[in-house]
């Protein structure tokens, strides 16, 4: 029932496990195994995710994965996390910076915390980077997951917090492009009313009603690491300039991916 390769890969994660198989942040091996056993079939079969440029992600030490949001629910983040565990050698645990509402929901709170997906607070980011972890950030935030089908390859405004943190902690940035999420969850509208019911900012609506993702081929492309010099206390103009460079790199990766997808004949 449980995938032996996943167990072996979770075992190979270079995290400081305690006697109880828990790290100092409460990440639990047992929970990771269950989590990845759920993700792996989606990654390998349902979405048949293709990961390119995995070798661009540093094998060890602090790094930030900075990507575009693609798809109204967090399949982009989940598939990036899955690709880091399933495709890297040694495997790494990508730790997302999660929207605040998630920690307020029962079960979501428990599972996000046990799998290292913590609330997106600067305090968390700094500490994890100083502990040489791999962070995953989508600077478009909730605005990015709200993208409609017709906007699926566009980028909305990037937050700038990640850049200040990267400069302050001297962390290399790995730009990533996520493709296909907008086809998997073709959002035609976002309902804030439904969102209120479950405690989320909104719920995406698709032509077939619920936001259940379709079995569409997804692709994640990791670009070459970008290193910026500074302290994180620079003027906004400077920071915005750096952020635009990362955004430009991601836009480029998306464009290349789109062309590939068109020629490859997939949706």
């Amino acid at each position: 029932m449980f995938d032996r390769e996943i167990r072996e890969r979770v075992d190979r994660l270079e995290l400081p496990w305690s006697e109880f198989d828990v790290d100092p942040y409460g990440i639990s091996k047992r929970h990771l195994e269950v989590f990845f056993n759920l993700l792996a079939p989606l990654y390998r079969h349902y979405f048949a995710v293709e990961a390119r440029g995995v070798e661009n992600v540093p094998k060890r030490g602090r790094a930030m994965l900075i990507g575009n949001h693609s798809g109204g629910i967090a399949i982009d983040g989940a598939m990036v996390i899955a690709s880091m565990l399933l495709e890297m050698n040694p495997p790494r645990l990508a730790q997302g910076m999660v929207e605040k509402f998630l920690n307020q929901l029962p079960l979501a709170s428990q599972w996000s915390n046990r799998t290292g997906q913590f609330t997106g607070l600067p305090e968390h980011a700094i500490r994890l980077l100083e502990d040489e972890r791999l962070l995953m950030i989508f600077p478009e935030g909730a605005r990015g997951t709200a993208k409609l089908y017709k906007e699926r390859y566009s980028l909305v405004a990037f937050g700038t917090g990640f850049m200040r943190l990267a400069l302050r902690t001297k962390t290399p940035i790995v730009p990533l492009a996520f493709l296909g999420g907008g086809d998997a969850v073709p959002t035609i509208a976002n309902s804030t009313t439904l969102g209120k019911l479950i405690g989320a900012p909104y719920v995406p609506i698709t032509p077939y009603g619920l936001a259940l993702p379709l079995p569409v081929k997804l692709e994640v492309v990791y670009g070459e690491p970008m290193v910026f010099q500074g302290t994180g206390t620079e003027d906004d103009v400077v920071i915005t300039g750096y952020v635009e460079r990362v955004k430009g790199e991601i836009a480029q990766l998306i464009e290349e991916g789109r062309r590939r997808r068109r020629h490859g004949g997939s949706a």
């Binding site: 305690s18 006697e19 942040y25 920690n103 046990r114 609330t119 968390h124």
Partner: protein, 313 residues
């Protein structure tokens, strides 16, 4: 060194007194609760049964002229909501500092708690000492403890000639069975809020004593978080102490408290079993050289041996 310990009758106070005596210090205790007979390893201990806010307590300061005061006379029982608790925690703390300034004490150590930082969905793991006391927002019943902590901290600038140390301790766990966490874990079934599993940070009582001893020795000045081994999820703590988790949906939880053998818990305390309060203790370790001796596993095993889970019926 002559060390005065207000609140000596508590479990930590007694353990600390024995540690000080072993190290060759003179120990003078003050507590309004009776201490009982002086036991083995406590020879030379002097205890005065007097309320810290009363004249008798000031007489002890005047007569003894202690070198250091370790103030642990604060009421923390969350169940005991009363003006009395407010008065003890605030007026008592004020009295300790006033008498210390008046009678030549050189070092005052205030024993605070990590709950100062509050437990909330958006609070970070590993709080630093410079963070504000969010406990007030989430858990107003802790207001007097937070105020006492801040009042003690204000002595750093108000009485600069006095060395003041504010220590914010995490939970304790060990064979005494005392303390908030141990009380919560006492029954065979431990209620949890379904879908939440916060980290709990705890240290063994012997390490609390060790931390206090090293604070006196190094005269560490300032506000410090004090913790031991890394925190663990509540579910692991429950399992490893031989208990059984009893997850209840939050809506049902509040109405069940105090019944069916479940412990009583104030509504505000609920946040503490949904969200973690974990502190960063690096500053304390750097200032004092403190290292803990008892691992999280040993602390839990010791508690389990001392308090085996009793099945009901």
């Amino acid at each position: 060194m002559k060390v005065l310990v207000p609140g000596i009758t508590g479990a930590i106070g007694r353990r600390f007194a024995r540690g000080l005596l072993r190290a060759g210090h003179d120990v003078i205790g003050i507590d309004r609760r009776p201490y009982g007979a002086i036991g083995e390893g406590e020879e030379g201990l002097e205890v005065h049964q007097v309320d810290i806010r009363k004249r008798g307590a000031e007489d002890v300061f005047r007569r003894v002229r202690p070198d250091a005061v370790v103030h642990m006379a604060t009421v923390t029982h969350l169940l005991r909501q009363s003006e009395d608790r407010y008065r003890i925690n605030l007026q008592g703390t004020r009295a300790v500092f006033e008498h210390s300034a008046a009678y030549g004490v050189k070092h005052v150590v205030f024993i605070g708690r990590h709950t100062f930082y509050g437990a909330a969905p958006d609070s970070p793991l590993y709080h630093g000492e410079d963070e504000p006391p969010m406990a007030l927002a989430y858990f107003p019943e802790l207001a007097d403890l937070v105020a006492a902590d801040l009042f003690a901290g204000s002595m750093l600038w108000r009485q600069p000639e006095l060395t003041t140390t504010v220590l914010r301790f995490c939970y304790t766990l060990g064979d005494s069975g005392h303390g908030t966490l141990a009380t919560f874990l006492r029954g065979a079934r431990v209620p949890t809020v379904l879908g939440y599993d916060p980290l709990f940070q705890f240290m063994h009582e012997d390490d609390v004593v060790k931390a206090l001893m090293v604070t006196l020795e190094k005269r560490a000045r300032g506000v410090f978080n004090v913790a031991g081994p890394p925190p663990l999820p509540l579910s692991v703590v429950i399992r490893e102490t031989g208990r059984q988790a009893f997850p209840v949906p939050e809506v049902v939880f509040t109405s069940l408290l105090g019944r069916f053998g479940l412990p009583r818990l104030s509504r505000g305390a609920l946040g503490h079993i949904k969200y973690p309060v974990v502190t960063d203790d690096r500053a304390f370790r750097a200032a004092t050289g403190f290292t803990h001796d008892v691992s999280e596993g040993d602390a839990m095993r010791e508690f389990r041996r001392a308090f085996p889970p009793m099945r009901r019926g």
